[in-house]
């Protein structure tokens, strides 16, 4: 398996091909079987490869599987090669198994949708692209997967293409991501030009070598982070993710929560050598992460669409991950990525189950009292909510805590680190609050929907509830892979340790035991305060609490509801000027160029017509031309 790593992404790709070509005519059973098989094969082969890797490499070395020399031109070249190391194995396990669960869930959720085959074809294609992204051995190959997942994201957000909003949301995601991709590309060009390679290991090696300008490293890191901010929805490029909720809910769970959006975090962790060489770039990453975490969490408080709340929550949680990788706690960032994949996938799938039960209703103001009606969904949702809020010993507690403790004790920028810790803790408070608000409004109080909706309320089928249960279990106990040192053995940190090689002159992060204790206690208190406040407000008073807040401070309420008007600001400052500029280019500049081109075309055409005149069709004339040609050459070369 280790020397046939390409089989892993190929499996879902074959599923995509089969469903793409034959799915429309084949029945739903066939489509489902192919899609499940494709994703399951990837998961099984991936697991096999991971075990083989663990048997063969004991110190976290990089396993390289070169398939093919893609191109080599001069001293620039790139291979199509896959690699396996501790980091990619962690990603591989999360992506394939969570991906498989969501494939299973989708069969139930999408059962009555038009374009069932199209959905599964895209979903398989997404999985293939995501696997290329995490298994690729160079930035260039990673970029192939990066663009592939972007394409699938676009296709799936716009899955309901007959709704204007979905089509627009797909476009928005695509365009905003282009800005990020621009950064990624520039970073790659810089690597090609100054480091002479885009291979992960070689880039790290050469960056460590002497004679490399620190400014160059910072530039590469910052451009890469621009790419990461686009894909992982960070300030200022986060705006596409909330709109992306226009896609089917399982897609939101898979692509816009568990896997694709974490690609940026993966990339930064993958590039940890360069980042550690540039504390400036790290400070930028951590600060942006902290601001995003807090900013998105405050918006989450005033959203009423169940998926929108979760979307802002995702943006906020991604901010936490960037705090982690930004302060030098790369394994903590990846750890949060993993636990977030569990509980956020569970929350989204739970939300899907709620929407399913509510006959398509997404507004939590029209829900309420669902606790008894859909118990499995409610229980799993509760577990995931506790996990994200950060109560021990659930998954989110350990990972978020490790990030906050690392921020507090980061050696790279101690002062800023403390500030980031404070911001992160406030964000955690908001997280607990908006999540329990969501939970209470959805599952407690009186049912506020229509009579018909109440009549149709039902628990989802087993294909949907089983993935929920599995994910809830993982949300509950998944954190045990990385418990803090004061309790024992941080298995994940140890596993990931080899990908963070020691650098001369760079201090590594170390969390003192007393800091760890203090942070844990504060975090738990903060989560409890959030829970308590939400319980008092929304369990007891329901929607009335929101209305009271609106009466008390209408300005703030409206600002939050409208997400700080960021979309409007972007519209005024970026989109409109661009449109005006484009119109100018189109109407004025373009017509000049067109005129010149038309004139040239006219000349060429006239010339052609003139030459055609010699084409008489008469052999004698041709022979004469031939002869004249020879004579002229004789004269020229005489």
């Amino acid at each position: 398996m280790l020397n046939n790593l390409w089989l892993i992404p190929i499996a879902p790709f074959v599923g995509f091909l089969i469903n793409g070509f034959f799915g429309k005519r084949a029945g739903k059973t066939f489509v489902t079987a192919v899609a499940w098989l494709g994703s399951f094969a990837a998961a099984a082969l991936g697991t096999l490869a991971a075990f083989e890797y663990a048997g063969q490499y004991h110190h976290g070395e990089r396993h390289l599987n070169v398939i093919y020399n893609w191109f080599s031109s001069g001293n620039i070249g790139a291979d199509i090669a896959f690699q396996l190391d501790p980091l990619s194995i962690v990603m591989l396990m999360v992506v394939t198994w969570v991906g498989f669960l969501i494939h299973v869930y989708s069969a139930g959720y999408m059962a009555h949708e038009e374009g069932y085959w199209r959905y599964f074809a895209y979903l398989n294609l997404f999985l293939a692209a995501m696997l290329i992204l995490i298994l690729g051995s160079s930035y260039l190959f990673m970029f192939v997967g990066w663009e592939g997942v972007g394409l699938c994201s676009y296709l799936l957000i716009g899955f309901y293409y007959d709704r204007d909003f979905a089509a627009a949301a797909g476009k928005k995601a695509f365009i905003v991501n282009r800005i990020g991709d621009f950064g990624f590309l520039i970073a790659m060009f810089l690597m090609f030009a100054y480091l002479g390679s885009v291979d992960f290991a070689q880039v790290s090696q050469r960056a460590m070598g002497s004679g490399i300008d620190g400014g160059l490293i910072t530039a590469i890191c910052l451009f890469l982070f621009l790419g990461a901010a686009g894909k992982s929805a960070q300030i200022p490029l986060y705006v596409w993710l909330p709109d992306a909720m226009a896609g089917p809910t399982p897609v939101s769970a898979l692509i816009h929560a568990a896997t694709m959006v974490t690609a940026g975090v993966y990339m930064v962790a993958r590039t940890n050598v360069l980042y550690r060489l540039s504390p400036t770039a790290m400070a930028v990453v951590a600060t942006v992460g902290a601001l995003t975490a807090l900013f998105a969490a405050t918006i989450g408080v005033r959203q009423n669409d169940i998926k929108k709340v979760l979307a802002y929550s995702t943006v906020s949680q991604l901010g936490f991950m960037f705090i982690g990788v930004g302060v030098g706690a790369f394994s903590a960032g990846v750890f949060h990525l993993v636990t977030h994949a569990f509980f956020k996938a569970c929350l989204f799938l739970g939300a899907g189950s709620v929407i399913h039960a509510m006959s398509g209703e997404q507004d939590i103001r029209k829900m309420g009292g669902l606790w008894k009606k859909i118990p499995i969904t409610a229980w799993t949702f509760l577990i995931a909510t506790i996990a994200i809020a950060g109560f021990p010993p659930f998954a989110g507690f350990f990972s978020k805590d490790e990030i906050l403790a690392s921020a507090f004790s980061t050696p790279y920028f101690p002062g800023l680190g403390k500030l980031i810790y404070v911001l992160g803790t406030i964000a955690a408070l908001f997280t607990a609050f908006y999540m329990f608000r969501l939970f209470y409004l959805t599952f407690f109080g009186k049912f506020r929907g229509t009579h018909e909706q109440e009549h149709h309320l039902h628990e989802s089928p087993a294909t949907m509830t089983i993935p929920l249960i599995v994910l809830a279990a993982l949300s509950a106990i998944g954190g045990l892979i990385g418990i803090p040192h004061v309790f024992g053995h941080n298995w994940l940190a140890e596993w990931l340790h080899p990908i963070i090689p020691p650098l001369p002159g760079v201090h590594d992060l170390h969390i003192p035991a007393n800091v760890e204790w203090a942070v844990m206690i504060v975090s738990t208190l903060v989560a409890a305060i959030g829970l308590f406040a939400a319980m008092r407000l929304y369990r007891d008073r329901g929607v009335a609490a929101d209305e009271a807040f609106e009466r008390r401070s209408p300005g703030l309420a409206r600002t939050l509801e409208n997400k700080y008007y960021v979309d409007e600001i972007y519209g005024r400052t970026v989109v409109t000027p661009l449109e005006v500029g484009s119109r100018f280019l189109w109407k004025v500049v373009d017509s000049v160029i067109d005129g010149i081109a038309a004139m040239l075309g006219f000349f060429v055409r006239g010339f052609g017509d003139l030459l055609r005149f010699f084409q008489t069709g008469n052999v004698r004339n041709y022979a004469l031309m031939f002869f004249i040609g020879v004579v002229v050459f004789m004269w020229v070369l005489r």
């Binding site: 093919y68 020399n69 893609w70 191109f71 080599s72 075309g601 060429v604 055409r605 010339f607 052609g608 017509d609 030459l611 055609r612 010699f614 084409q615 069709g617 052999v619 004339n621 041709y622 022979a623 031309m625 031939f626 004249i628 040609g629 020879v630 050459f633 004789m634 020229v636 070369l637 005489r638």
Partner: protein, 484 residues
């Protein structure tokens, strides 16, 4: 008499040629004895081509027949190009001939024998062998062009090619004779020794060079020796036109590369290269600008072919391993895209005496999606857009030209290929943006033509996306070729 044949490896050295020749006779005899078996002659020809491809591997590299016949990696690459062109042409011809009611073993036999001629040209170390191969090829072409014998245009094409071809062969023979007079040999290896020390100011050599280049220029349809091409392509049975526009040109190019390499010492002291550059530049300019005003698809492709040989000639200006590799790859890609394009035209169900114009392909992209797509891919590749093979091959040609200092010519090549995008994409425009006029017949094509088109499309894309293996193969072959 038999004795020389028994010398080591001589018989097996020409195994591919033997298979092709015998296969051609077999097809003719088969049709003679059992006229009903006409339908299987096409597939049989393809099988013979494939068997020959396999036989290529059995032939050991070396020089045979007293230093007159060279088999090396590069001749193998070119042999494969000829065979590829033959296979594609035979596949496209199968249903075309059936539809026109002119199917027969002779057609395929002539394709097979023509391929023998081309192989002799590619391998011949003696100019006499080269001319012999050229004549075998030419005779086959005359007959193939007139194969649609009830059609006046087909006869006209055959006659025109014959008359002009005879004229051009005269130039080639005179050129050869003059070189013989100067160097006392027709063997290229011997001539190379002479050229190494020859007096470059000898006017005899210049005249010989011009005569030879004019004759080859005719075979390549290089401007100003090109006017026959549009008339002949237009009248020829369409699959023949596709084959004719590719395979004989490839054979001529490798001969030219051999000769120019042998002459390199003299070329360095004279400005003969001006003639080559002029041929190239004129072809690119005339080919591309006249193609713009053509509405007849076959004539358009004829002019486009003139332009493409112009591009290939850029690499000929300085012979190096890279330029030969670039030409080898270019001819392979050109075989795929040009025969593919002619193949789609051959499927347009229409009286073959009438021109097949752009109107006939209007809306084809929707009426027959695969043919539309295939033609579109061929057009993208011909215009040199990535990710097709056409882009890669053009890129390498221009790069070798720039590296060997012919920046000006390369620049003209780039500019004229920008012009060419106009008429290639116009085809795509007609395929997808034009409504078919009422009563336009849907093109007819069966499994053979579809298969051939699929080979073209897949080949173009694979070479475009993964060019390295092909370039490595051609590059290694070219390096070996230049070492001795």
């Amino acid at each position: 008499m038999i004795q020389p044949l028994l010398e080591a490896g001589w018989l097996s050295a020409i195994l591919p040629e033997i298979i092709l020749s015998a296969g051609g006779m077999l097809l003719i005899l088969l049709t003679a004895f059992s006229p009903r078996s006409r339908g299987i002659t096409g597939p049989l020809a393809v099988i013979i081509f494939i068997a020959t491809t396999w036989a290529e591997n059995l032939v050991g590299e070396g020089v045979y027949f007293g230093g007159t016949y060279e088999i090396s990696a590069i001749t193998r690459v070119f042999d494969l190009t000829f065979l590829l062109a033959g296979i594609l042409a035979a596949l496209f011809a199968r249903e075309y001939l059936e539809r026109e009611g002119i199917e027969g073993g002779e057609f395929y036999a002539l394709l097979l024998w023509g391929t023998v001629g081309m192989m002799m040209m590619a391998k011949g170390l003696d100019l006499l062998i080269v001319v012999l191969g050229l004549e075998i090829l030419s005779v086959c072409i005359f007959v193939l062009l007139g194969y649609h014998r009830r059609l006046p245009v087909s006869n006209e094409a055959s006659l025109k090619y014959f008359l002009m071809g005879a004229f051009a062969t005269g130039f080639i023979l005179y050129g050869t004779a003059l070189f013989y007079g100067a160097s006392r040999s027709t063997n290229i290896t011997e001539m190379a020794k002479y050229f190494a020390t020859a007096d470059a100011s000898n006017p005899l050599l210049t005249v010989a060079f011009i005569l030879l280049m004019s004759g080859f220029g005719f075979k390549l349809a290089l401007a100003p020796f090109h006017p026959w091409a549009p008339d002949v392509y237009q009248g020829a049975p369409t699959p023949v036109a596709g084959w004719l526009s590719v395979a004989p040109k490839a054979a001529t190019l490798i001969v030219l590369a051999r000769l120019l390499y042998a002459m390199a010492p003299v070329m360095a002291k004279t400005h003969w290269v001006t003639m080559l550059a002029t041929l190239s530049v004129l072809s690119m300019i005339i080919g591309n600008s006249v193609a713009i005003v053509q509405r007849d698809l076959k004539r358009m492709l004829a002019y486009s072919g003139i332009a493409h040989v112009g591009y290939m000639m850029i690499a000929m200006l300085t012979i190096s391993d890279e330029s030969i590799a670039a030409i080898a790859v270019y001819t392979i890609v050109y075989a795929l895209m040009n025969i593919g394009a002619f193949g789609v035209v051959s499927m347009l169900a229409k009286n073959q005496n009438d021109p097949q114009t752009l109107d006939d392909i209007a809306g084809l992209g929707f009426r027959r999606p695969f043919y539309g797509l295939g033609l579109a891919v061929c057009m993208f590749s011909l215009s040199g857009l990535p990710p097709t093979g056409g882009f890669i091959s053009k890129f390498y040609v221009f790069r070798t030209a720039i590296e060997s200092g012919h920046t000006g010519v390369a620049l003209i090549g780039i500019l004229t290929s920008i012009i060419s995008v106009y008429y290639y994409l116009r085809v795509v425009y007609y395929l997808y943006m034009k409504e078919a006029p009422d009563g336009t017949a849907v093109p007819i094509g069966g499994v053979f033509a579809t298969g051939a088109l699929a080979i073209s499309v897949i080949g173009i894309l694979i070479i475009g996306i993964f060019p390295t293996p092909l370039f490595n193969m051609a590059g290694n072959a070219a390096r070996q070729f230049l070492q001795h």
